[in-house]
Amino acid sequence: MDPVRQVEGCAYPWGAKNIDTDIIIPAHWLKTTTREGLGRGAFETIRAQEGNIFDDPRYAGSPILIAGDNFGCGSSREHAAWALADLGIKAVIAPSFSDIFSGNAFKNGIVPVVLPQEAVDRLIEVAKTEEITIDLETMTVTTPFQDRFTFELDAFRRQCLLEGLDEIGLTLARDTAISKFESGAAEARPWISVGAGNEGVAIEGDRRT
């Protein structure tokens, strides 16, 4: 993943609440086996409407989306984050996010910025004409009118974004600790692996461990 320090530019001044993952990317787009190309299906039902914000030339290609409460609620589909990324969105500003969506966003280099409703309302006004800046070093959102809103990010996730870290690689480096935990757990709760009991279920292949 590429490091993310700052997201700067136009923003879609949307503000809609409870935007669920079926709106972000409808289920019929989930039949893909790759991460790419989902931008075509992003917000499909919204974009079918005349004069929608995503096809408004003033905002086309904006790296920032401003939304309302509970953005990304619904399904765990990471396709929602892939679709936003494919649209060129690098940050979403909203008063709250679903827990699963914000995890998925981070893992794809999209910054979920939580700000109070008043701040979001103000940014929607500003974004109609001006660019805004999200800075991960200072954890602020600023506008050309001297607005300055600070936000919080989980320290580890922030570090991953700033340094573009590969989480799986980081965890694999903790292999000794994981193995140690596994043998302790096998003592304390032997039924966890013994009881997996999936004999009789198809298993084959080269990459078996």
């Binding site: 079926d22 679903s98 989980d154 600790a177 966890i192 298993i203 292949g205 078996r208 461990t209």
Partner: protein
């Protein structure tokens, strides 16, 4: 010895911490991982690209469900029928190739055990109390019904769990949702969870793990508890736990993947230590009383848009919050409804009984009890019964439920996600209305332009036979 009283969540969490980082993030061990065809292809591709393996295939179980058509799967000669949609077929064959390559245990489409991932986990005894369980699907919360810390994850996390059998997580806040009293006639677990979501709101549980407690929950079967925990996510919570008890142990005993012999005894002894301590503190508590819960359903396009069946479509102007007013008006436009209409005056063209919320044997029994001796109303174009698994289907057939449904004019289908999401051929056409036992009434969820009312299996069955949203209590007492 624990120095302070702990909740069920805190106990499971503490037993799965591999490492705690300075920033408070914990590396958490994952005991159980369920995999299906939609959210796994990119994860397996990621492993392959990095030359990585699956760390613990023995703790992993894969099954196809979302894409599978629910029409006949084999021809008269027993040969598998091709899947018409090439993209669905590709996703299904990709899963088959991935599990073979990585040695992941797999239940195939033609296996009698195949079904919706959240139905087969408990049914096989793969889901156990006190375990951490994940799946690339938000309704993984369902497994919390057995006292597992279970939650949905994205595909990057699926890849992380496949490679490391762990996840990096922050501890959540805890919310107790207590429901005391005794449910009235015709009131089901689905009504309980709809009432809860109506009360806390679709984002009410965000950041929290819910624990469902109280007499009503204790009195429920595991199947009913699965319905409640399943929809925790519709209330914003990633997980919804229910403490394991004798009902849980009785349900699990003898299941194919549950512990056996001495391991069973050890497991039960451990499971008995898990319930929240009497003095444990929750960050937030919500209470409901059974007498306030009627058969309920949704009127709008958010699962929090809940009314009792005796109620009316609310007036958007009645909402204090201006953005809620706008949302409600939009919902009504989409749903083709007007404020003030009695819920029971709304006609339906489709009925769907199925999904991981309500496709287990008790759900089918509840629906059959309403359907028996009646017929699907003329205005209902399509009435589907989709069992949650091949084993549920078989059980229902052994009890003769299939015949009750078929002779009433329902279609009796093969197991899968079906009309819960518009991904396989089962869809609701644009502008038509569906009484559905599934869990999401989002815009377009059951097909572009589809209008969904979420309700219980008995209420869906009642709507099927009258052709309109109906109070199942009245319908059934008319019999007596």
């Amino acid at each position: 010895m624990a120095s302070r009283p702990l909740t069920l969540y805190e106990k499971i969490w503490a037993d799965h911490v591999v490492e705690r980082r300075d920033d408070g993030t914990c590396l958490i061990y994952i005991d159980r991982h369920l995999v299906h065809e939609v959210t796994s292809p990119q994860a397996f591709a990621g492993l392959r690209a990095q030359g990585r393996k699956v760390r613990r295939p023995d703790l992993t179980l894969a099954v196809p469900d979302h894409n599978l058509p629910t029409t006949a799967r084999v021809d008269a000669a027993g040969n598998m029928l091709p899947i018409a949609d090439p993209e669905s077929a590709n996703q299904l064959s990709t899963l088959r190739a991935n599990v073979a390559e990585f040695g992941v245990p797999y239940i195939d489409a033609l296996d009698a055990r195949q079904g919706i991932v959240h139905v087969i986990g408990p049914e096989q005894g793969f889901t156990l109390p006190g375990t951490t369980l994940v799946c690339g699907d938000s309704h993984t919360s369902a497994h919390g019904a057995l006292g597992a810390l279970a939650f949905g994850i994205g595909t990057s996390e699926v890849e992380h769990v496949l490679a490391t059998q762990t996840l990096l997580l922050q501890q959540m806040k805890t919310m107790e949702v207590r429901v005391d009293g005794t449910l009235g006639f015709g009131v089901s677990p689905k009504d309980v969870v709809l009432a809860i979501i109506g009360k806390i709101g679709a984002a009410g549980g965000t950041g929290y793990v819910i624990e469902f407690t109280g007499e009503v929950i204790r009195a429920m079967s595991i199947e009913g508890r699965l319905t409640v925990s399943n929809m925790s996510i519709e209330g914003g919570a990633r997980s919804g736990l229910i403490a394991p008890d004798e009902t849980t142990f009785a349900y699990l005993k003898g299941r194919p993947m549950a512990p056996k012999g001495a391991d069973w005894d050890k497991a039960v002894a451990y499971w008995r230590t898990l319930p929240s301590d009497a003095a444990a503190q929750y960050d937030r508590s919500v209470q409901l009383h059974a007498t306030d819960i009627a058969p309920s359903l949704t009127w709008g396009t958010s699962p929090e848009d809940v009314v009792p069946i005796t109620g009316h479509i609310p007036d958007p102007e009645s909402f204090a919050d201006p953005s809620k007013r706008v949302a409600a008006q939009k919902s009504l436009d989409y749903m083709g409804l007007t404020a003030g209409t009695a819920m029971q005056d709304i006609g339906v063209e489709h009925v769907f009984i199925g999904s991981c919320t309500n496709s287990r044997i008790e759900d089918l029994r509840a629906a059959a009890a309403v359907v028996k001796g009646r017929r699907v109303a003329d205005r209902v174009r399509q009435a589907l019964i989709v069992p949650g698994s091949g084993l549920v289907k078989r059980q229902a057939e052994a009890e003769g439920l299939d015949q009750i449904f078929i002779s009433a004019g329902f279609q009796w289908r093969e197991p899968g996600c079906s009309m819960c999401l518009a991904m396989n051929p089962d869809k609701v056409p644009s502008g038509e209305r569906c009484a559905s036992t599934s869990n999401r009434n989002f815009v377009g969820r059951q097909g572009p332009g589809a209008r969904t009312h979420l309700l219980s299996p008995a209420m869906a069955a009642a709507a099927a036979v009258t052709g309109r949203l109906t109070d199942v209590r009245e319908l059934m007492s008319a019999d007596a």
